[in-house]
């Protein structure tokens, strides 16, 4: 049951108004009234949406548990036949969690970027893009059906393109932006095909002109295929209606054993939708754009590439839990990709020297964790990790932002060090966030990551040999890696003494004014540090929302999200392990976190330990080779360039050549043939008219000329000719009759 709640539309509408205001009037306002006229509206709008989200929260609380759905239908978007795509927003428990995370972290980041982008001339453009991003993310999250969600999905891709190539006069930023958008488009290609498959699967077959629904209720001619028919929810794109259809047993049976290209339809839909999630949430094959996306300003990386956009894929899988839960192959596929990405990205993080790149790879790996959770069927854990990750990753990114600001756009950790002295608040918040992400007890990361590992370990419907254990092992190693490279980044930047003497690393923000005097780093202004403090606090407190059942403490989030996912509960089976096993795993993961921390501390504390330098310069071929491969990110980018990009480039040239040389040449050929025919026609025509007259004359003359050759007075040639002629006549006579 759904209750109408028109205020929902204001949540995405407010940032849209903010974006429009800044886009249209921002430039003039900034010129006349300075930065305040730009960033205040830009901050107030997301704040408004946050407030409304809170109001919606209280409204939901007032509703009974299984009816907590708020609807705001705006208008019929595509009312064609039984396609009933309406432009409407829905707020249920899952959306609320996402909305609160997006709006809260978004507002904080808006405040943070006031300080960070202070000297940026196109200040207004930044805030309009940021607000536009908030709008599209909220549309994505609040979307009631696939199409509205797809609007948000692509809108978010567009804003990430705009924001990554914000400093567009730098060619590599523009290329990075384009790469992000194109790779997202590849993901959307998968998403669209998944949607097509679903939509086609659900609708009935055209049976002799009448539109027969699968259950045989023959709905007759076109005039009846109108809006009411859509209400019969034969084939709809709205999540709720699709979920209801899947509860109907007979429909699900037929859907399951319907084969397309030899694979069951459900698996195909799941795989293609997951391709969309991969593109958006940067999983294995399509993650290449995220590290390059660091070319954008740091608040952008914090907001988009850590907290909100990249989690869209996880939200989508959670939203479509009733599809993913149906097919064990699908679940194991999602889990496997998640685990693989977690491990893969974590390993790359070891040797990165650019602080933002480290965080980018850690995001990719944490997303891998979320997909493990969602793949295994523990959807609420995935969302829980998503929330905690949003907090501590945003805190890490903003921390690195203030570090970069402090060291005058120095991103290379080798040129930093000992910043604890200069930037105490950033250091502490960064440490707390590291604590959380590594998974130390009582920090947010611990609860969510440990829960994921436990759920993976105990999951029953994975098709892998060891079932959950195989995934658990990969997850544990990834967690170890996470702890290691996070603390490595902490020690390299904040301990030891400052190595960044040489002024600017490479001065690519030429128009970026210098904040304070040149060389010694300095703490960021308080509006940045307050945000860091809040996020640091949250990354600790955030964990208490989802305390493990083990400790018999109330698990608020699980309780809150349960009604959303009860549709697929009876498909998720858990292998029965004694209680003690959970304790052991918890202890093991804590042990792994501390081990990672200790190794990092041993190697990188105060940057005194020569070992890392020695590894770099080691003669041993194998070590050197491993180091090169890993530090060059397994050459994945070069691989893609060499294969896909070169292939496309060659193919386009082929097409163009073919178009110019063949198709066009044919047309011109026809043209020239026409001309030639015309030319001859002209000649023949003039020939025919007076040709008849001088033609005969010409024939006689030429005939005579030839004959005269014979009359040469020599008797012998006469005789010869007569003889030959005689013989010829006889022969012809003989042959003819």
């Amino acid at each position: 049951m759904t209750t109408e709640f028109p205020l929902l539309t204001i949540i995405p509408l407010a940032p849209l108004i903010g974006a429009a205001y800044n886009a249209l009037a921002g430039y003039k306002m900034q010129k006349r009234f300075g930065h305040a006229a730009v960033h205040y509206p830009a901050i107030i709008m997301p704040a408004i949406s946050f407030l409304i989200t809170l109001m919606a929260f209280f409204k939901l609380l007032s509703l009974p548990a299984n009816e907590r759905v708020l609807i705001a239908t705006l208008w019929d978007w595509m009312p064609i036949g039984f396609l009933d795509a309406q432009f409407s927003f829905v707020m249920d428990q899952l959306t609320l969690v996402m909305c609160s995370v997006v709006t809260f972290v978004g507002t904080l980041i808006h405040i943070y970027s006031v300080g960070y982008m202070h000297e940026e001339p196109s200040y207004w453009r930044f805030f309009s893009y940021l607000n536009l991003f908030m709008f599209s993310m909220l549309v994505l999250v609040l979307g009631d059906n696939f199409v509205v969600m797809f609007v948000g999905w692509e809108g978010v891709g567009l804003c990430s393109y705009l924001l990554i190539s914000f400093w567009y006069h730098e060619k590599k930023n523009a290329v990075a932006g384009m790469k992000a958008f194109v790779v997202n488009r590849v993901g959307d290609f998968g998403f669209v095909i998944g949607l097509m498959l679903l939509f086609w699967g659900m609708q009935g077959e055209w049976v002799d002109g009448k539109f027969a629904d699968i259950e045989g209720s023959n709905l007759s001619t076109a005039s009846e295929i109108t809006h009411e028919m859509a209400a019969a929810k034969v084939a709809s794109v709205t999540f709720r209606h699709v979920a209801e259809r899947f509860e109907n047993k007979e429909f699900k049976e037929r859907f399951l054993n319907r084969k397309v290209f030899g694979i069951s339809l459900i698996t195909l839909i799941g795989i293609f939708l997951f391709v969309g999630a991969m593109g958006k949430s940067a999983q294995i094959p399509l993650y290449v754009w995220l590290p390059d996306a660091m070319a954008g300003p740091t608040p952008v990386s914090a907001l988009i590439h850590a907290a909100t956009m990249v989690t869209a894929g996880v939200y989508m899988v959670a939203r479509l839990h009733f599809i993913f839960a149906l097919d064990p192959f699908l679940m194991s596929w999602v889990t496997f990709v998640g685990a693989l990405t977690a491990l893969f990205a974590a390993s790359i993080g070891f040797f990165q020297y650019d602080i933002k790149k480290v965080l980018a790879y850690s995001t990719v790996s944490q997303l891998g964790f979320m997909f493990i959770a969602v793949g295994v069927g523990a959807y609420w854990v995935g969302i829980f990790h998503l929330m905690t990750h949003a907090f501590f990753k945003a805190c890490l990114f903003l921390g690195s932002g203030s570090v970069i600001m402090g060291c005058h756009h120095e991103q290379d950790m080798r040129k930093m060090g000992g910043l604890k002295k200069y930037m105490p608040i950033t250091a502490t918040t960064y440490l707390v966030a590291c604590w959380a992400i590594a998974g130390f007890p009582f920090a947010a990361g611990f609860y969510s990551k440990d829960e994921i590992l436990w759920k993976a370990f105990s999951s029953g419907n994975l098709l892998f040999p060891g079932g959950g254990i195989f995934i658990w092992v990969m997850g544990a190693v990834a967690a170890l890696g996470t702890a290691f490279y996070m603390y490595r980044s902490y020690y390299m930047t904040f301990t030891g003494e400052y190595r960044g003497g040489g002024g600017h690393h490479e001065d690519h923000h030429a128009d970026h004014g210098h904040y304070g005097h040149a060389h010694t780093p300095h703490e960021s202004p308080n509006n940045m540090t307050y945000v860091l403090a809040i996020l640091g606090f949250l990354s600790v407190v955030g964990g208490f929302l989802g305390l493990p059942h083990l400790w018999h403490l109330p698990n608020l989030l699980h309780h809150w999200l349960e009604p959303v996912f009860e549709g697929s509960v009876n498909y998720i089976t858990a292998a029965h392990f004694p209680h003690i096993m959970e304790w052991i795993l918890m202890g093991l993961s804590v042990f792994l976190a501390t081990a990672g921390w200790l190794v990092a501390r041993w190697l990188y504390l105060d940057n005194k330990n020569p070992l890392p330098a020695k590894i770099l310069a080691s003669k041993n071929q194998l070590v050197r080779k491993v180091h090169d491969v890993v530090s060059n990110k397994y050459y994945v980018d070069e691989l893609y360039d060499a294969t896909i990009i070169k292939g496309v480039m060659q193919f386009r040239l082929l097409c163009d050549w073919c178009d110019r040389k063949i198709v066009d040449a044919l047309v011109n050929l026809v043209g020239t043939v026409g001309k030639v025919v015309g030319f001859f026609h002209g000649r023949v025509d003039s020939g025919v008219v007076d040709g008849a007259v001088n033609g005969t004359g010409w024939m006689v003359v030429s005939g005579g000329a030839i004959l005269s050759l014979i009359q040469n007075g020599k008797i012998r040639s006469y005789i010869y000719i007569t003889v030959v002629a005689m013989f010829g006549l006889i022969l012809i006579n003989y042959i003819k009759f």
Partner: protein
């Protein structure tokens, strides 16, 4: 060897006819030409005679070959007269190819 039928004689006559023809075409001397003509007429006469002989001795064949001989004789006389005229007016040269005043 098979008995000699009319065919043998005919082949012989044909051979003579062809040699005569070749002589007619091949030689450059006017008199050589006449010899060629003689050979051809002989070949014809042999044919007449052969058929006369091999068709139960009808005499017509023979008469024709007789006439053939006579005509050949007349032919030669006239031809030689021309040759002499030619010889006299062409400073002693009776090459056939030179005599081509009538060419067109």
């Amino acid at each position: 060897m098979a008995t000699i039928g009319a065919v043998h004689f005919l082949i012989l006559a044909a051979a003579m006819f062809c040699l005569g023809l070749y002589c007619l075409m091949g030689r450059r001397n006017a008199i050589g030409l006449l010899m060629g003509i003689e050979l051809i007429v002989n070949a014809a006469n042999i044919n007449f005679a052969t058929f006369a002989h091999y068709r139960g001795g009808e005499v017509d064949g023979y008469i024709f070959s007789l006439f053939g001989i006579v005509l050949a004789a007349i032919g030669v006389t006239i031809a030689l007269a021309i040759v002499f005229a030619l010889y006299r007016n062409f400073n002693k040269n009776i090459e056939v190819d030179e005599v081509s005043i009538l060419r067109g």
